[in-house]
């Protein structure tokens, strides 16, 4: 039984990698989207709007399947049309990371936008009156306050993102869920209730990751809110 459990444990490392990599993509896209939506260029606002609406209107799994199967076919066709280039493979890891990052970028856009809007406009105006350029205003005034205001929403998005990494098992990536399911079927003769055991183990690992995340992000929230009186109703 131990070899099975060890391989599921290895699968959890893969889940962490997918989660953290997707988070990076999501934060970058979220920042870009939030800045686009709060900018005064109608084109940027419209594009960000469509992005957020479509992504949040379609299930993660469908987008993942589209990118994984469709994206690979499209990429192959493109490469073949350009000439006899060697095939670039979109492996399940890349497909999972790109899609999850892309999806949660839309949610991060909303979170960051809400945070930016909550900063008193007067501060940005004062900064510009002092002669600071737009990127200086962003870097010195907007960003530090935005982090504090966005943390609760960010925490929520991160937790949901981490749980949706279980879906990459449906793309064939050998993460915890995939290995637990396979081990459960393979060990059905030797170990009683094998499926229940291995799936429960995978669930426990997810619970551990969720708990650690909540603890770390809760600590961060307290740290960033030092000296600020919170309004509570």
């Amino acid at each position: 039984m131990t070899p099975y459990l060890l391989s599921i444990l290895e699968g959890s490392l893969l889940v962490l990698q997918v989660g953290l990599a997707s988070l990076v993509v999501a934060v970058v896209l979220g920042m870009a989207g939030a800045l686009a939506k709060t900018s005064d260029r109608p084109m940027a606002v419209w594009v960000a709007d469509v992005y957020a609406t479509v992504i949040r209107g379609v299930p993660d799994l469908v987008l993942m399947l589209l990118l994984f199967y469709g994206g690979q076919m499209g990429l192959n066709a493109l490469l073949e049309a350009l000439g006899d280039w060697p095939a670039i493979e979109i492996d399940p890891f890349a497909a999972g990371v790109l899609t999850i990052g892309f999806i949660y970028g839309a949610y991060m856009t909303e979170t960051f936008r809400g945070a930016i809007l909550a900063i008193p406009k007067g501060q940005m105006e004062a900064a510009m009156a002092f002669g600071m350029r737009p990127w200086q205003v962003f870097w010195r005034i907007t960003l530090p306050q935005m982090i504090r205001l966005a943390l609760p929403g960010f925490t929520n998005n991160w937790l949901v993102l981490m749980k949706s990494t279980a879906l990459v098992s449906l793309l064939g990536l050998q993460d915890m869920t995939y290995l637990a399911k396979q081990a459960g079927a393979a060990a059905r003769g030797e170990i009683t209730n094998a499926p229940l055991l291995f799936l429960a183990f995978a669930a426990l690992l997810y619970l551990a990751m969720t708990s650690v995340s909540m603890w770390v992000l809760g600590w961060l929230e307290k740290k960033y809110s030092m000296g600020i009186r919170l309004e509570r109703d």
């Binding site: 070899p3 280039w85 060697p86 095939a87 290995l179 396979q182 079927a185 393979a186 003769g189």
Partner: protein, 260 residues
Amino acid sequence: MFKKSLLLGSIIMAASLSASAKDWKEIRVAIDPTYKPFTYKTADGKPTGFDVKIAQALCDKVKAKCVFVEQQWDAMIPGLLAKKYDTIISSMSITEERLRQVAFTGKYYNTPSKVVVRKDIKTDGSPASLTGKKIGVLKGSTQEKYAKGELAKAGVNVVGYDAQDQVYLDIKAGRLDGTVADVVEVQGGFLDTPDGKNYVYVGQPLRIKKYFGEGVGVAMRKGDKDLKEALDKAIKDIRADGTWKKIADEFVPGVDIWGE
């Protein structure tokens, strides 16, 4: 000056890429490791089984390295066409329908399929006598084609699963009355186990060419003619020098799986 040399460089590179024939130093092989004794994994996750050992023997003969890629059965051919791997060596039968999409080598084994149901079900294996029963099959397999083509028409409830061993889990659970499966696979993976003691074969061995094809071969993309030639020759070689027999004796002792 820089732009011109960049253009020249990329033209040369493109030309050289298109000019060279594919040099097979590494062959990516797709397997679905839920099909004991042909393709399965040991407890620590290493692929093993008849298909896997044959693949390694073939790779040795063509002096290439075998890299195994796991893939769910019903996504096998799409993945091959999408160039995620180069061959499928996982008990894939050579059928006319599949030949329209991919190329196959000659067969490397041939075993029939049979219907397996619980002992207490009174049936002679014909579709009509199984009306109303729930039969589980592997999605994308020749057995599924047969079940959907013949059994479903007669009123049998055909349920598709992602992997054959998930079928056995649900048979054990009583959610299914039986399955249609390869005789060697169902013998080793189910009937010989304690779970299978109330189950029997019914009816004749199914060799209908329309559904089951003509044996199991190595699948590859249609454009890779040199790979097909190399692997065809390799299959003949391992048959001739006894490697095939040795692997067969290791995984399916006492059974002749070469067939006709």
